[in-house]
């Protein structure tokens, strides 16, 4: 599993099928592209015209015979050309910006929709960081390149073509002087550009190593102090910064050869022009203006060449980003509603909740087989029948299969074989949305979202009134601590609820679940060390929630399940003990041993906390 999401190596070969898919996504922006290409051609044209204008100023008006009227109209023309080109620059930015941001917006929306439809199994094996980079940096890069870089061809190539034509038509001999250097310039540019980019990529890599070093050095500072690792860490860090310097200097050295070389090459052309052109002027074959025009063209050849080389690199980067995004978009979702179910109940993102049947709460696992990885069965021919309203506790070691049972019940996964019936109907005949909107689910590590406490509780029922929210909070005894905050229900919980204690978060997640008023309630119980006082409160909350609905508790803290209707001890995917607390205690089996061990500890913890002074509880 750990290797599965290592960044794939992407071939440098052009992947046309990927680009086809990418361009299909880009279709709404074709008109932007066309406009940008058109503007680019015009800008290239104006870039070619200005040297011609300057030449005319010199040859026709200074030494030539231009009249004042002609001069005035010349100035007006020049001014208009400036105005038009300036406006084209402005429009270019606006159109490219609109295409970039619009495309990124659309693509992000599509990807996020996909994320909402992806099943649990996908999230279980895909690191969030991986998905995050797809939605952020990859999309940004792709949009930037598609909107800004691709159409630059329409500037670079016409600029080269137009100026070549003008030069050849003006003076072949001088034109050849300029063009002679172009292939060398092109070669140098492409040769170095590749190396420059590669070396800077290395620099970026070392840079992120250093960022990570700081990250660890600072976050791990307390551990560093207790283990006296200051010198060890520093030595490693110095090693990294030295590598960073070497890589940066190496990259800079490539640039330090590349850029002067390019400057030298275009200057070389200038010298040739001065020599040959000067001689021609001397012989009065050409005017000063033409000489000046050629110097301007000679200096402008490098820019379009560099831009073309850049675009080539950009396309490669875009391809890598594109492949990753397409691989996300094309991920085949196996766990989904059938077409008939969709027709009746709607999709996840566009449901028809009015069609949802009410759930009574009978649950049955019928001959269920399940495995996460083929040939490693977790459940085999598993059977379990639960009546509506019962509380079922699942007990067992890590890996015994108790979480799997819950995952199947929640339809986060589906049975490989067999059926799971809810109210006597195979749950695959109803929609995922139907089940989930009737499900109350509390995780052992409670997850809250940024926002206020009220927002977080309301997540359980979006149209809940303030009163309903308060009632839910009161039911689970969260109201008391919420009101102790200055802002009460409007208290900001911080990112992922970081401003609250684990116990407080847990209570809010209970309130959220109870507000949803689910028919089936699932509790993946907390193992975290919550202080004993809070644990008492939580215990009460759990009992409130579980009364009168079908409940499944994955139990770690056995004291919480003493009152369960049925306790199932799961071992290697099988139910090995099944009964109430007292019947299992009499059995003196696994449950008995587990319970007696934990009991002692619980008593101690309780005793300790009872003596804690009130002032210490924040």
């Amino acid at each position: 599993m750990s290797n599965k999401f290592e960044e794939k190596e992407f071939s440098e070969e052009f992947d046309s099928s990927m680009w086809k898919k990418l361009f299909a996504l880009f279709r709404p922006f074709y008109k932007h592209m066309a406009a940008l290409a058109f503007l680019n051609v015009l800008i290239a044209l104006s870039d070619v015209i200005f040297p011609l204008m300057n030449r005319r100023a010199m040859d026709h008006f200074t030494v030539g015979s231009g009249t004042n009227e002609e001069l005035i109209s010349f100035i007006i023309m020049y001014f208009l050309l400036i105005l038009i080109t300036a406006l084209m620059h402005l429009f270019y930015f606006r159109i490219a910006g609109a295409a970039e941001m619009g495309f990124a917006y659309n693509l992000r929306q599509k990807c996020f929709e996909k994320l909402q439809n992806l099943p649990f199994s996908y999230y279980d094996v895909t690191p969030t960081g991986w998905l995050l980079s797809r939605l952020t940096s990859d999309i940004s890069r792709l949009a930037e390149i598609l909107a800004w870089s691709l159409t630059e061809f329409a500037w670079g190539i016409p600029l080269i073509v137009f100026s070549t034509i003008v030069m050849l038509r003006t003076n072949v001999q001088l034109a050849l002087m300029v063009l002679i250097v172009v292939p060398i310039l092109a070669f140098v540019t492409f040769y170095f550009q590749k190396r420059v980019l590669r070396s800077y990529r290395k620099v970026r890599k070392f840079n992120s190593v250093i960022t990570n070093d700081f990250n660890e050095g600072i976050n791990g500072a307390k551990t560093t102090k207790t283990l006296v690792l200051e010198d060890t860490n520093f030595k490693e860090f110095k090693n990294d910064t030295a590598k960073m310097r070497e890589a940066s200097v190496k990259a800079a050295k490539i640039v330090s050869i590349y850029r002067p070389l390019v400057t030298f090459l275009s200057s070389f052309t200038l010298a040739l022009i001065l020599w040959i052109g000067g001689t021609l002027v001397f012989k009065k074959t050409i005017g000063f203006g033409i000489l000046m025009m050629f110097t301007e063209y000679a200096q402008r050849f490098f820019e379009p060449l560099q831009s073309i080389a850049m675009i080539m690199q950009d396309i490669q980067m875009a391809q890598a980003s594109g492949e990753r995004i397409i691989s996300l978009m094309n991920y085949e979702i196996k766990l989904k509603d059938s077409d008939e179910v969709v027709a009746r109940y709607g999709t996840i993102l566009d449901p028809k909740p009015q069609e949802y049947e009410k759930i009574k709460g009978d649950v049955e696992f019928r001959n269920v087989d399940f495995s996460y990885i083929e040939e490693e069965p977790v459940l085999t021919d598993f059977n379990l029948k639960v009546n509506a309203g019962q509380t079922i506790a699942l007990v067992g070691e890590t890996g015994s299969g108790k979480s799997t049972i819950v995952n199947l019940l929640c339809r986060f996964y589906e049975p490989v074989k067999g059926q799971l019936l809810i109210d006597g109907v195979d749950y695959r005949e109803r929609s995922i949305g139907w089940l989930h909107s009737n499900l109350g689910y509390v995780l052992q590590a409670p997850h809250l979202f940024s926002g206020t406490i009220k927002d977080n509780i309301r997540f359980g029922k979006l149209d809940a009134t303030d009163e309903e929210i308060e009632n839910a909070a009161k039911l689970v005894h969260a109201h008391e601590f919420i009101m102790q905050f200055k802002d009460g229900y409007q208290t900001d919980v911080g990112e992922s609820g970081s401003r609250l204690s684990t116990g407080q978060k847990q209570l809010i997640s209970f309130a959220r679940a109870i507000l949803a008023d689910p028919a089936i309630f699932v509790l993946d119980e907390a193992t975290a060390s919550i202080d004993t006082e809070t644990e008492h409160i939580i215990q009460n909350a759990i009992e409130t929630i579980m009364s009168e609905r079908t409940s499944f508790v994955v139990a770690h803290r056995l004291s919480t399940i003493v009152n369960a209707d049925r306790i199932l001890v799961i071992k290697k995917g099988k139910i090995v003990e099944d009964g109430t607390h007292s019947s299992l205690m009499k059995l003196k089996g696994y449950y008995y041993r587990l319970y007696t061990n934990q009991f002692e500890e619980d008593m101690v913890r309780e005793s300790l906390t009872r003596t804690a002074t009130a002032g210490m509880i924040e």
Binding site: G220, L227, S607
Partner: protein, 587 residues
Amino acid sequence: MRGYRLKLALVILATLISSFLNLFQTYMFSYVLDNVIDGKPMRFRWLESLTELLGGMEKIRSSLYIVALFLITCYLIRSLLMHYRFKSQAEVAEGFSENIRNDLYDHIQHLPYSYHVRIKTGDLIQRCTSDVDTIRRFFSGQIEEIFAIVSSVIIAVLIMVSLNLRLALFAGISFPIIFLYSFLFFKKIRKLFLASDEKEAEMTSFIQESLSGVRVIKAFNRERYELDRFLGYNKNYKDTTYGMIANLGVYWGLSYFLCTIGILSVVATGVFYVRSGDLSVGNYFVFITYQGAILYQIRQLGRILSDFGKVSVSLDRLLEIKKEIPENLDEGKTPSLAGDIVFDDVSFHYDDDPECEILKHLSFTIPQGKTVAVIGPTGSGKSSMVHLLSRLYDVSSGHIYINGEDINDIAKGHLRKNIGIVLQEPFLFSKSIYDNLKISNPNIDEKSVYRASKIASIHDVINSFDKGYDTIVGEKGVTLSGGQKQRIAIARTIVNKLPILIFDDSLSAVDTETDAEIRKALHTFDEDATTIIITQRILSAKDADLILVLENGEITQTGTHQQLLNEDGLYKRIAEIQGQKKGEDDE
């Protein structure tokens, strides 16, 4: 910086010369046009000397390639200077920032524990990375660029003035306009840049949170709701950024307009000066070319200078860190620490809150080789005791002696090296598990590492991972549970034989059976070590040679398990519950 001053000066000198040469080449065109071809008299003495140097006007006129060769030589020199500049400015900037980074890292590592408790880590990391980078960028080009532009502008203006004062004045009108426009625009748009970054960050953290809360979203069937919220963030980012780009479009359009109008003004007025004979054609060429080059550079200068404030802000932010006083790990004695630990009337409060006594007049002795358990509720001061013992904090009053030596006289590094502390929430470094285990002693052999992890009951767990001991902590797909981390931290601490071991509630996430196993294994491993166990579990405390009950910063009870059973107090209350359970189960 000191070591790089000379080099930086040389780089700047090279920059100045090469911008001069750049202007000079244009002037050579004018020389050829006016003096060589048109045969006009030379304006400057040095031009005559140059003519002599190149073999006299007659020679030049017949063989123009001489000037071309001369120019190529100039270009070559310029290119070499450029090469030197780019190479050396990188060496200066990278070397300098390497020093800053090392200095900062070392400094931060040596800042006291209290500093690390106090600071916001995100902010500190930000300073160490992006603020250092701002300074690096300043030295790797910006500073040279400023010199290059300013010197170019000055030289060009001087030349233009010497050629034709009135036209030069006319040309110069646009300089301040473009500079100010560029400068002010980038000052203003920085807000938009920041706003765009902010919206992007908001969107990113929304996605992040949504991804990590995906179970909740799915279980509550809130996919549609999340999508709608996401689209809000997505749109905000799009609109803000588009606004910024549109503004940039105005800038590039308008500044292009201003620059080219500046050129037009010279092209047009120049015509009249040439016609009236006040300006030669060659000089006209020089004016047009300089004007074109200078205007764009001035535009660039405005942009760079508007960013200038950032450098001093970054510098201040770094100096703020440097102001903090680091601790000296080596100063002090390095005696053997195998001896009794004595707390003599020790009190402790945090410096910033003298009212709140965390520990109050503690006095007790821990004989060498014994195991002491400290039991007490959360907030009773147990952890502070540990912090004092290893001088992560210093006592406010009283003394702590180890082996007869006041710990205030012992070098902190020596003290901590000899006291193995396992924290409740230990930090593991993102290296392999193996490297984590040997981190405090790189020379240790494999056998000792395995022995330590066996004692800590983690050996089998590690071997059950795909890559075993080579598993990288925090790598994709592998998440260690709290209990596993704690056990690795224990193993990491006991790879060395240490005279004093402290477990600061460091088995809280480990189940009771494993807890007992570990303690037993530890005891047989090293009988001579003085061990302090801080716990809330009576089971962990009961076998200790001495038990201290800490409540509200005071020791309310001391004694062995048996002694404490016969006293009224917290310990007995716990023990009574234990007895009750025993009776029930006939254990």
